[in-house]
């Protein structure tokens, strides 16, 4: 039994895939057209037309093999163990290129990801990692990780977000979302590990009162529990509870580079679907003109803002499309939060996002709702409030202090003295950062103020979480010995905002 390989341009992918499904998975000749049109073609349609496909048979896919040994092999019907792997490349390729050292290096730069086709008809599309560079219309900032893989026996790397369609038996949308989150974090950070479908099922056995396979889905608490067991400090947010703040909180976490599991429901409750939000569209500078003033739910802050004529525009209040990873759809679907099922039609069109689960690093004790409120309170009603009669734009996000300091060190627009003060400031692994800007500055990707808050400090009394704040010519820090707030007169010219949490694909 040997591995066969085929190289075709995208225009011939249809013929090749049908041939492979027939020869390798022994699928019925009559159903191939429908199967390709419904289950596979939509995934290829979003790709650029100059893409080349390299297909390999007898591929051992670790995720499908796990489902196979845990479940499919116990059925009477015979399921194949092997999959088909489709690698995609930017432009024309030739088999000889792989075995020429110079051309292989060029091929590595042109590698754009892979799809696994599994023998679980009609849910054929299995694990995939596709670079947003392969899309006809990228235009997004999104979470991505580097994945090591092989094609034609050689090593390649792809920068993307993992995706899979559900097989509906071992993994429904809920398990697929859990798998994708763990696949992303496990490949990006050594603290986490990727998980297999059977591990998800096993982890939930203790809190399940019925059998787990064939899967009937998971409730939101079960998803959160599984994430907790896999090493996260999870938080659940409901749109019914957080109301106007809900979408802003979701946006805040996305800007923090944290992929979220979201629940989408229609009005009758007949559709309840799990998917991921992993990024957002690239924002056009003109969009900032449409930003509406932020009205805090806290009446005390509302009153001060009115009295002192201060307008805060919340960056998270910007109307924009988000990047969804949906196991029913091709990878990287763009949609607004108001109309997340825009690509579906039918009963799905009135679907809304009702919950999201944030998989946080376990030592982030100060979550987004309180962190955002603390920053706004500090700026409006703190001991050194911002000046009257002005409009500011506030962008609040989580960042790893290492990444933040690293970016700051190479940020030529940040004044030297303040750079050293921030670089040498003691910080936890994660910090909340609030960038203060104006509409004119933010259009140029600039800010002129900064508040850095300790994400491990939930005790918000006496400014305990404050690490430093710099705005309007003042640097505010807590005196190390007596925890008294000190003000130092330091001018901060405008500087480039931090955009390292999400990777840009234009």
């Amino acid at each position: 039994m040997s591995i066969s390989k085929y190289i075709v341009p995208k225009s011939e992918a249809c013929e090749l895939i049908k041939q492979l499904l027939f020869e390798e998975f022994h699928l019925n000749d009559g159903s191939l057209d429908v199967l390709y049109e419904r289950s596979i073609k939509p995934h290829f349609d979003v790709l650029r037309d100059d893409i080349y496909f390299l297909a390999e048979t007898n591929y051992v896919d670790r995720v499908y093999r796990d489902s196979y040994y845990y479940y499919y092999s116990s059925k009477l019907n015979s399921y194949k163990r092997n999959c088909i792997k489709i690698s995609i490349f930017d432009g024309e390729i030739d088999d000889d290129d792989f075995f020429d050292n110079v051309k292989y290096k060029i091929l590595q730069d042109r590698y754009l990801g892979f799809y696994v086709l599994r023998p679980t008809s009609p849910y054929i599309i299995g694990r995939s990692v596709i670079s947003p560079k392969a899309l006809k219309i990228p235009g997004m900032r999104t979470c991505t990780a580097i994945f090591n893989t092989t094609s034609n026996g050689l090593n390649f790397q792809v920068n993307g977000f993992p995706h899979s369609s559900q097989d509906t038996e071992t993994i429904s949308c809920a398990e697929t979302s859990l798998w994708a989150v763990m696949e992303y974090f496990g490949n990006k950070y050594p603290y986490y590990e990727p998980v297999m479908p059977s591990e998800i099922i096993e982890k939930l056995n203790d809190i399940s009162f019925e059998r787990q396979v064939p899967s009937k889905g998971l409730n939101i608490q079960q998803i959160s529990y599984a994430l907790k067991k896999f090493g996260f400090g999870t938080k659940i947010y409901s749109s019914g509870e957080y109301r106007d703040e809900f979408e802003k909180l979701l946006s805040c976490y996305v800007e923090s580079g944290i992929p979220l599991i979201v629940a989408m429901e229609n009005k009758t409750g007949s559709i309840r679907h799990a998917l991921l939000v992993v990024g957002r569209e690239i924002i056009n500078a003109d969009a900032f003109d449409t930003l509406q003033p932020y009205v805090p739910q806290n009446l005390f802050l509302q009153k001060i803002m009115t009295t002192r004529n201060i307008v805060i525009c919340d960056h998270d209040g910007l109307r924009k499309s988000f990047v969804f990873i949906d196991d029913n759809r091709p990878v990287y679907q763009m949609a607004t939060l108001a109309d997340p099922a825009v690509h579906y039609g039918g009963d799905w069109c009135d679907c809304r996002i009702t919950y999201f689960i944030a998989p946080l690093y376990p030592k982030i004790y100060l979550e987004a709702f309180e962190a955002r409120n603390y920053v706004i309170s500090f700026l409006i009603s703190g001991p050194q409030p911002i000046a009257n009669n002005q409009e500011i734009i506030l962008k609040v996000y989580l960042a790893s202090s290492r990444s933040y300091k690293n970016e700051l060190a190479t940020n030529a627009s940040f004044i030297e003295d303040l750079k050293y003060l921030v670089m040498e400031a003691e910080m936890p692994k994660f910090i909340w950062v609030a960038e203060i800007s104006t509409k004119e500055l933010i259009k140029q990707g600039q800010a002129n103020g900064l508040v850095i808050v300790d994400a491990t400090e939930p005790n918000i009394h006496f400014n305990k979480p404050l690490i430093l704040a710099i705005y309007e010519g003042n640097l505010l820090t807590l005196d190390g010995n007596f925890c008294k707030l000190q003000r130092k007169s330091v001018h901060l010219p405008s500087f480039s905002i931090y955009e390292h949490n999400l990777n840009a694909f234009e």
Partner: protein, 64 residues
């Protein structure tokens, strides 16, 4: 001789010499901080309720 490098200390010393450092410990500052504490406490109570209710209702929503 081993030399300690702390640019922060040097900058802070310079700012002190230039009389650019003030401690915000006057009554008006303390009053603002205390009032801020009270407001943050109120928001925290609200947050805890939202957080608890989000968890409770989440158990009813099965995603498939």
């Amino acid at each position: 001789m081993i030399k300690k490098i702390s640019r922060t200390e040097a900058i802070n010393d310079r700012l002190k010499k230039e009389e650019k450092v003030t401690t915000l410990d006057k009554k008006e500052h303390i009053d603002a901080i205390v009032l801020m504490n009270e407001q943050l406490d109120a928001v925290r109570r609200e947050y805890r309720m939202k957080d608890r209710n989000s968890q409770n209702t989440a158990a009813q929503v099965i995603l498939s």
